[in-house]
């Protein structure tokens, strides 16, 4: 269905700008944000473009901080608006209290994290170091975001629509977890159709109490433990239902003897590794999780039955690899290859790692 709708000519765009344009086309009611590299193009694009779109009533506001941004998102989402913010790692850390409130109050919204290398102020270079923060909650309490991980400029745009669709379906905050390279690089993109995402009714929103209904309350406060437990059980049930939204992509896994698992930009690099390996006669396949929450545990478990070993590749110290190991339950060895601090493994480096492990495995089996 998505394919049919893409009737436009491809355009050459930066990932951040494609995402911002998609947000305009998703008819967001509001964007609140605070500048930080490598994603400031998002707010800059919106500030530049929105005034030229006479048919758009989008509010674009530069807040005084990420703390303020996320709380403006809370207020607007609670008032029934389609609303988003974007930032990069340190800014997303500042938002965590607000995100936890949003998850508890069950407000749909989109948070974009164009990840940079950390910890601390770190570097503005691309990283995948915020995987744990994004997929395991990030703030306090038991909650999850819906997390989508694009690996191209095309997906930077498309996932804005997907994220809002899921967020509104489940009344849950959604996150696009990209990285500095995806935000900055230019690629061809076919933009999603303008206005192609219908608005959903939000009868729970604080839009002013009319005579025909009781007052609507947006809150994350449930002071009685009995009540708080009930809310938690309901959240957990929702997360269970969200598992059906799991998405992933596979390359040459049919006959693969070695499986690579990688998301986002790392998956792009690993596609090259698959090709290079196969040229040398090594049967490598790749699984790329598209949703990081929910995570494709089941499919990874299935594939692990047919391969000699798994190599998980990330731009961090090894975060998603913990989920891969959970999926595999020790059935085959799971190795990790990663670089940190804004450094990226080359396809050749990764292939060398594959070959080295392959050799070691064969020695073990002899």
């Amino acid at each position: 269905m998505e394919k049919e709708m893409k009737t436009e000519e491809p355009r050459l765009m930066k990932g951040n700008e494609a995402l911002a344009e998609a947000a305009i086309r998703a008819n967001i009611d509001a964007y609140f944000g605070y500048p930080i590299t490598p994603q400031s193009e998002i707010i800059e694009y919106l500030m530049r473009e929105v005034p030229n779109r006479k048919d758009k009533k989008t509010i674009v506001l530069q807040a005084e901080s990420e703390v303020a941004s996320i709380n403006m998102v809370y207020g607007a989402a609670g008032a029934g608006a389609r609303v988003m913010t974007s930032s990069s790692s340190p800014g997303i850390s500042l938002m965590q209290e607000g995100i936890s409130y949003i998850a508890s109050a069950q407000l749909p919204c989109l948070i974009v994290n164009v990840v940079r290398g950390g910890p601390g102020l770190g570097t503005i270079q691309p990283s995948q170091g915020d995987y744990f923060q994004a997929t395991k909650g990030g703030g306090h309490g038991d909650y999850h975001l819906i997390v989508l991980a694009p690996s191209s400029v095309q997906e930077m745009a498309d996932f804005v629509f997907d994220a809002f669709r899921l967020a509104e379906k489940y009344r849950n905050p959604a996150m696009i977890l990209a990285d500095g390279a995806l935000g900055q690089m230019m690629e061809k993109v076919i933009l999603p159709p303008d206005g192609g995402l219908p608005k959903t009714p939000k009868p729970w929103a604080t839009t002013g109490k009319t005579k025909d209904r009781g007052h609507n309350i947006i809150t994350s406060l449930f002071i009685q433990p009995e009540e708080m437990e009930k809310v938690n059980l309901q959240l957990q049930k929702k997360y269970e239902e969200m598992q059906s939204e799991v998405r992933w992509e596979e390359f040459q896994t049919d006959d693969a003897e070695i499986l690579l698992v990688a998301f986002g930009l790392s998956a792009r690099i690993c596609q090259k590794v698959v090709d290079l390996g196969r040229e040398k006669g090594i049967k490598i396949g790749l699984l790329r999780p598209i949703t990081l929450y929910p995570f494709p545990y089941k499919r990874i478990a299935e594939l692990s039955e047919k391969v000699e070993f798994i190599l998980d590749v990330e731009m961090n110290a090894g975060q998603m690899v913990e989920d891969v190991r959970l999926a595999v339950e020790g059935k085959v060895p799971v190795y990790f290859k990663g670089r940190m601090g804004g450094m990226i493994s080359t396809p050749e480096e990764i292939l060398q790692e594959v070959e080295a492990i392959h050799e070691k495995q064969n020695v073990l089996h002899d």
Binding site: D29, A30, F32, I59, L61, A63, E64, S65, V67, A68, S69, N71, M72, V73, Y74, G75, A76, A77, G78, A79, G80, A81, V83, E97, G98, Y101, A105, T206, T207, G208, K209, T210, K211, H215, N216, I217, I218, T219, S220, L221
Partner: protein
């Protein structure tokens, strides 16, 4: 209102005052003599009188009044500690035709939320900020607030606030009044019936200004906290008059030029 009531003996009574429809039947949880409940009453009476129940959206952040939404029969959002004016900004920006107010304590507005307070007013957000200054952290058990007076004993200033260690009480309302985004800034109280009537006038004006898109209206209410101050309600009123109002004088700080 104005319903006739017929007693058994044939006497006809006319109802001239009752609980506004904008207040729910839930009894207040506030300590006896606490100013919070009086300010709630005033706010909801004004909403009732201006007939804006269907237009008004309130924001109650963490503090003793976080449960304000149990009592105020209007759409409301709870907010994280200090973030009420950011949340109110979010609501007002997407629903510009509604009337939005935040209801914040001194810890909330003048400590953890100072940045949001200053910037919300500086943008001239078209909302009403109600600031309950009771000089203490009521909800968490009576710790020192940014507004606690020098020498005042709290659980985190057990020998009295030492300004050399803890700084001076923050007159944030004076600060806010300097900002061009502020349209109407006033300091009121609820320590006697006359003060309550004055506050009601101020709230009414603030909502009317908001309807005219004038910018931020900011009403400080110098209030009490019998539990935190370890005083009887009557003693708190004397303390307000003798001590608090000396440091926080009542009256308008910024009035529109009309």
């Amino acid at each position: 209102m104005n319903e006739k009531l017929l007693l058994d003996d044939g006497t006809e009574l006319e109802q001239v005052y009752c609980r506004p429809d904008t207040l729910t039947d839930v009894p207040y949880h506030y300590c006896p003599g606490c100013g919070h409940s009086v300010v709630h009453n005033v706010l909801m009476e004004v909403v009732d009188e201006l007939d804006i129940q269907d237009k008004t959206i309130g924001v109650a952040p963490v503090g003793c009044s976080v449960f304000a939404y149990h009592y105020m029969n209007i759409d409301m959002q709870e907010a994280a500690h200090g973030r009420a004016s950011a949340v109110a900004t979010g609501i007002k920006r997407v629903l510009p035709d509604k009337l939005v107010f935040s209801y914040q304590g001194d810890g909330d507005l003048a400590a953890i939320g100072t940045a949001e307070t200053i910037h919300t007013v500086n943008r001239g957000e078209n909302i009403l900020i109600v600031f309950i200054n009771n000089g203490i952290y009521g909800m968490t058990g009576g710790q020192m607030a940014p507004t606690t007076l020098p020498g005042m004993v709290t659980s985190t200033s057990p020998y009295g606030r030492d300004v050399h260690m803890a700084g001076y009480p923050l007159k944030i309302t004076d600060l806010v009044a300097q900002l061009p985004g502020a349209y109407y800034v006033t300091r009121q109280s609820v320590h006697n019936p006359n003060a309550v009537r004055k506050l009601k006038k101020a709230v009414t004006k603030a909502f009317e200004y908001q309807m005219q898109n004038k910018g931020t209206c900011f009403i400080e209410v110098v209030s009490n906290c019998p539990s935190g101050w370890k005083m009887t309600p009557v003693e708190t009123i004397k303390y307000l008059e003798d001590v608090m109002f000396q440091y926080y004088p009542l009256g308008d700080l910024k009035v529109p030029k009309e």
